[in-house]
Structures are given as structure tokens and as C-alpha cells.
Amino acid sequence: MSAFIELSKKEVHQMAREFKILWLPIVFILLGLTQPIMMYYLPVILQSAGGVQGILIDPTMAKPVGQEVLASTLNSQFDQLGIIILVVATMSIIQGEKANGMMAFILTRPVSIASYLKSKIIIHYMLAVSCIALGYAVSYGYSAYLFTTVPMTQAFWALVFYCVWLLFIITFVAMMSTFFNSTAFIALISIVSLLICRFIAGLHPLIDIVNPASNSMYATNILMSGDVESWYGLNIVGTLLFVLLMIITMQSFIAKKKF
């Protein structure tokens, strides 16, 4: 237990010295701001761009509601650029310490591999959740200001589901970071896999049951429709099982010292 606490403290210190604790939240705040502002000014932008032949902006087109704006923050900002940024921020959490020998060094002390992995994943997950929450809060605020207010409970539950998807993202990148040694390769395979998961969500109900990215889709649905369907819970359990499986895989990989 004390090893876990000590390792977690070290992760936090490391994040602070590398300023990750500064730039990651800022990036997500910017992402959160972009969507509402862009959607608000889109008609104006298009108009001042000269109005291309054949495109008419219907002036009676309804302004989007707050829910739509917030949902599109999740969809087009967080789920695309956001994933890429998270992957880049997380890709070297294990690979880096493999490369400079620190992981081997730490493991010469009586530290269990489980506490090592848990400290990394939990601390980085907490950072990711904080950043997403900040960006989300900013987006919520601006949607309320520029459009309409989203009911708090709806927004809250959407965030909860999105955070389950986040847990999968962080653990997946950590696993890639454990298996491979090149940061470029880790980034590539993580981004591609995660985006594929995201894009196939919603295509077929059977796939949806096992797809962790469904959580992201449910988050959007909750915002749009306001209902939390009962089977959404199943997906949470499924994703958590996936996460557990990945952690066990990482643990045995490191134990066999295949690095």
C-alpha cells in the first residue's frame, strides 16, 4: 500500500515538473470553448466568406439547442482531437521508463508490479478526468450562455458515461506503451484503434454491447434524449471487464520481463 502511495506521489510530481498538469487542462479548455463558439458564429462566418454560389443560409433555421452543442463538443472535439491529444500525453508513461531503465530499477525494490501499474493508470486517469471535466464545464457554460441551458442531471450523467470511455482510453494506451518501444508506433496504433472503436459505435447493436466506445455514444444520447436506458449499465460492466483484462495482461507481460 505504501509503495502504491509513494509511486502515485512520484507520478504527480513528475507531471508537475513536466508541466503536463498545466498544458493538458488548457488544451481541453480550448477544445471545450471551440465548439459552442464555432456553432454560434458559423452562419456569420459563412456569410462573411462571401456566400458561395448555391449555398443559401436559411435565416429561419433554428439555432441549435444547448444539448446539441454540448453533444457535439463530445463528438467532434473530445472524440477526435481530444483522443489524439490524450494518446500523445499518455503514450510514454510506461515506454519512457522502460527505455531509460527506471522501470527495471524500481522493480529491484520489493514493489509489486500491480502497484506500479495501478499508480500510473489511476493518476493519469485522474488527470484525464479533470481535464475533460474542465473542458466540459467550459463547454457547458458557453452553451448555456450562447444557446440554451442543459439540465444539470443530463449533463452530469453524460459526463459519467464519457469517463468510462476515458478509462478504457487511458488503460489501452498504457497497454500499448507496455508492449511496444517506439512512441510513434504506440501513438499510431492507439489512435487508429480508438478511432475505429468510436466510428463503429452505433452501426450494429451486437457490436455495441462489447464496444467500449458505446459509452461515448450513450453520453451523446443522454444529452439529446434525456433518458438513461437500462442497458447502458451493461456496457459499463463490459468496459470495466475489458480494463481489468488489460491490466492483468500488462502485469504478466512485465512479470515475464519481456521488455
Binding site: E6, K10, M102, R109, P110
Partner: protein, 300 residues
């Protein structure tokens, strides 16, 4: 405290780095693992420190597998790496807490330990600013922090300048009073200074395991080294013909005369020389090879 290494084999793809290696170390020994570059010293040391897994064989410390005895082993890698953003104090504090040492004890022990390894003034400097020698010393401090029964060092002095080397060797002499030491090196004069027992490894095989005195005894040759004046060089042609002389080799400023029986033949030879009116400037009976020569003999 007894470390047993049993039939360790480790292969890296095509190359067998360590081949069926076995040995045992008891308390308060100071053992030098010597061998040429690429012999498998680092690999073996990493296996003992539980950084690598062997393909075959096992290592037991006091009868238990080393993975469960990590607290009894201190390890100094060849190129110690630390988190460059931590200070020396923070590094030792971090490693100490991972070893399960309480915060209070660490607060007391770390300054003393840093002083002992010569880093007293740099306790609060960032490791990123440290030179290679300083990192090595921090590595030694880290290996000693939890007061292990056995300390394993991979080339502890190879990267240091003469001053650093001298300091570390002195430190090791102190350490070996309380802790069993196993160190690998290819600088034989250093090994000679602090180790009493040597294990030689070549191409992954153990080729020698003996104490210093055993080695020197085994490799002592029946040789007489003599230096004579130039005018007396002709006498050597007569010496060559003598029955008890096996061969004569020139060596530096003199000659090595290989004989059968050192004691009796030495007397005969000097008598022969005196009879021939030769003046000896130097007459040395029995040459002991130093460790480096023995090593070269065994390895090449």
C-alpha cells in the same frame, strides 16, 4: 547468508550469453566476477538482481528465490539512471520508501549516507546536473540504503576518473566489512585490491573460481629471472645447453630461465654462473604472475 546460483542459462536470440553457470557465495566474502567484454558478466549480474529472467536454472538466497528476497539485495547497475528532476535526497527518499523504510529513519539515514559516498554538498541538487561519477556514487548510496546483506555491483569503477575510483574503492573496502559484495569488472588491478575470490567468465562459461592465493600458487612458474652485464651474454649459450634448463626467453631488461625444479636448479644455476665469472645484477627465484597475466593466459 548464502547465495546459490544454479545452472543459469540465458540466451538472446542466437547468442547464449550465460551458459550453465553455477556458483555459491557465503557471508562476508568479496567476490570479483571478471571476464573480457561480452563474456556475460552484466547479464549474469542482472539475472541475480532480478532485472532479467534466466531461461534455465535458479538463484536462491538463503534457500529462497531471489524475487521474494529483493529487500536483502542491493543493486548498482553499470549505467545508473535516475529521474533527472529529482534531487539526490528525493531520489534516496523515493527508493527508500519503496523498500519500506519509514520516513523518520530516512530523514536520519540519508544525510549520513550521502556524506559517506561523498555527495554531502549535493544533497539538494537535481540529479540532471550530476556528472557520471556523481551518479555512480548516488547509485552506491541507493544500493546501501536498505542495509542489504548482499550488494551486487556491475562495473562500479569503470567510468570514474582516478580520484573517483580511489574514493569508491576505499568506500568498498569499508562496505565489505559488513556486507557481502559481488562485483563485476574488467579492471583487474582494482579487483585485486579488494576481492579475495575471483570467478572468471568467458563466453558465458565459468572458467575459473579460486581465491587470490590459490590462483597465484597455481600459476606460479618455475622461472628464474636474471639480469647480467652485456659482456656476459655469451654465458647464456652455455646455459641453454644445460640439462635442467627448459628454455630461455628474453624479457624486458633480462632473461627468464625456465627450469624443472625451482629450488635445486636455482642453486645450480647461480653456482654455474659464479664458476663462469659472471656478474649478476639481478637474480630472482620464482616469478609470480600478477592477476592480469593469469587472466590473459586463461582467457586468450
Amino acid at each position: 547468508m548464502r547465495l546459490e546460483i544454479k545452472n543459469i542459462t540465458k540466451k538472446f536470440k542466437q547468442k547464449t550469453a550465460v551458459n550453465d553457470f553455477s556458483m555459491a557465495i557465503d557471508s562476508n566474502e568479496c567476490v570479483g566476477l571478471i571476464g573480457p567484454n561480452g563474456a556475460g558478466k552484466s547479464t549474469l549480474i542482472q539475472i541475480i538482481a532480478d532485472v532479467l529472467n534466466a531461461d534455465e536454472g535458479e538463484i536462491l538466497l538463503d534457500g529462497q528465490k531471489i524475487s521474494s528476497m529483493r529487500n536483502q539485495i542491493g543493486y548498482l547497475p553499470q549505467y545508473p539512471n535516475f529521474f533527472s528532476w529529482m534531487t539526490a535526497f528525493e531520489t534516496l527518499s523515493f527508493m527508500g520508501k519503496l523498500s519500506g523504510i519509514s520516513k523518520n529513519e530516512l530523514q536520519k539515514e540519508i544525510p549520513l549516507l550521502l556524506e559517506k559516498v561523498g555527495l554531502g554538498n549535493e544533497a539538494h541538487s537535481h540529479v540532471g546536473t550530476f556528472s557520471g561519477g556523481m551518479k555512480q556514487r548516488l547509485g552506491i548510496a541507493q544500493a546501501l540504503l536498505h542495509k542489504p546483506a548482499l550488494i551486487i555491483m556491475d562495473e562500479p569503477v569503470s567510468a570514474l576518473d582516478p580520484i573517483g575510483r580511489r574514493e569508491v574503492l576505499n568506500l568498498l573496502k569499508e562496505i565489505k566489512k559488513e556486507t557481502t559484495v559481488l562485483l563485476s569488472t574488467h579492471i583487474l588491478s582494482d579487483a585485486e585490491e579488494i576481492c579475495e575470490r575471483f570467478i572468471m567468465i568467458k563466453n558465458g562459461h565459468k572458467i575459473e573460481d579460486a581465491t587470490k592465493s590459490e590462483l597465484l600458487e597455481r600459476h606460479q612458474e618455475s622461472v628464474i629471472f636474471l639480469m647480467i652485464r652485456k659482456v656476459d651474454f655469451q654465458w647464456l649459450t652455455m646455459v641453454e645447453q644445460l640439462a635442467y634448463v627448459q628454455k630461455i626467453a628474453s624479457c624486458q631488461n633480462g632473461f627468464k630461465i625456465y627450469v624443472e625444479n625451482l629450488e635445486t636448479d636455482a642453486n645450480r644455476l647461480i653456482q654455474h654462473g659464479l664458476d663462469s665469472k659472471v656478474m649478476f645484477t639481478k637474480f630472482e627465484v620464482g616469478i609470480q604472475d600478477n592477476l592480469e597475466e593469469i587472466f590473459l593466459e586463461l582467457v586468450v
